[in-house]
Amino acid sequence: MNTDDLIVQLTRDVPPVRRHMLGWRIAAGILLGLLVSGACVVLALGIRPDIAIAMYGFPFWMKWGYTASLAMAALIMTVQLARPDSGRLRWLWLMAIPVLLLAGLGIAELVRTPPGEWLAMWLGQSWKVCPWLVLALAAPIFVGLLWSFRRLAPTRLRAAGAAAGLAAGAFAATVYCIHCPEVSAIFVLTWYSLGILLAAAAGALLGPRLLRW
């Protein structure tokens, strides 16, 4: 086609773009995925029976605080990497804050517990399934993000895929909290983080293939 004709055709429809459209589009993708993941938790895994009591306890909010703040940091990176001129990732260090805080809580917890109980505390009831469930719950959110990216322009596909995977994993872990009854900080630090990292690795692997445009 002639380039002039192409321009005429393209500009037949020029909808206005609001200022924070990019962030909204990514948020919408995540929200769509969250609906699916949330439904999976409620229908397939079940909400933890003691949730009403647990919500008054510290561990519940510790877990949510950890996963939700990781999710926010990953979201910032995803938004940044969705632009072609993404530049340097200035906010990467933010991710370290929740990890270090939780590690501090974990150490305090270990000090208070007799060494004989450390292993049981670390492995909890569900260490074998926790990372895999987080990874599985991340899948719908990642798919939602793929939808968001259809109108976005990442140029570092592997990094963008990893950030999207990380965000999907962290949001999935946040949803998983309403099912998971574990209370220990070192459990969360290890097995939740492992699930989130698996999701990020999957994103890095798939990014170059699925995010091309």
Partner: protein
């Protein structure tokens, strides 16, 4: 005559606000810029160049959500143009596969290329930040002086002087042998 950053950016923002006329004017202004960009970098006939130009125009239009109004327009544009060119290289190369050979070639050249890059990074690291950046933009990434100036919001002569001084400093450093 070439349009400058301010004009392009103004048209882009007006287009984002929904002004179809300005958006069309922007795309028309981009055509010669992109043709020049690809002619200098991509091999291939006029048809191939025009394909790249059109693909980039489509991307600029369909992915305009990703433009940040507070940042340079040309930086955004050339990031897209560059991505489209690299993507095009990858695709055309994939059309003529030679089993196994490609991996060998890549692995063979890899060490030389990466150690050369480390050397370059080391050397550029010894220069003031601006000089290093301008040398990188014009001599390694292959932007023209005008593009580098626009992308960084500097004057063209400023860019030229930075590159010149930086190269001169590197020259004396290499000839002197040590650091």
């Amino acid at each position: 005559m070439r349009a400058d950053e301010d004009e392009l950016r103004g048209l882009m923002i007006s287009g984002l606000d929904g002004n179809a006329g300005d958006h069309a004017a922007l795309l028309r202004l981009l055509v010669p810029i992109l043709r020049g960009y690809y002619r200098r970098r991509a091999s291939g006939g006029d048809d191939d160049i025009e394909d790249l130009v059109q693909e980039t125009l489509i991307a600029v239009h369909t992915r305009r959500v990703t433009y940040d109004r507070n940042r340079a327009f040309t930086g955004w544009l050339f990031a897209i143009a560059r991505y489209k060119m690299i993507d095009n290289f990858r695709r055309t190369r994939r059309l003529q596969p030679i089993d196994g050979l490609e991996d060998e070639l890549v692995a063979d050249g890899f060490e030389d290329a990466s150690s050369a890059r480390i050397d370059v990074d080391d050397l550029l690291g010894t220069l003031p930040h601006k000089q290093a950046r301008m040398i990188r933009a014009t001599r390694i990434e292959g932007l023209s002086i005008a593009e580098a100036a626009a992308a960084d919001g500097l004057g063209e002569s400023d860019v030229k002087i930075s590159v010149h001084r930086g190269l001169k400093a590197l020259m004396t450093r290499i000839e002197g042998g040590g650091r």
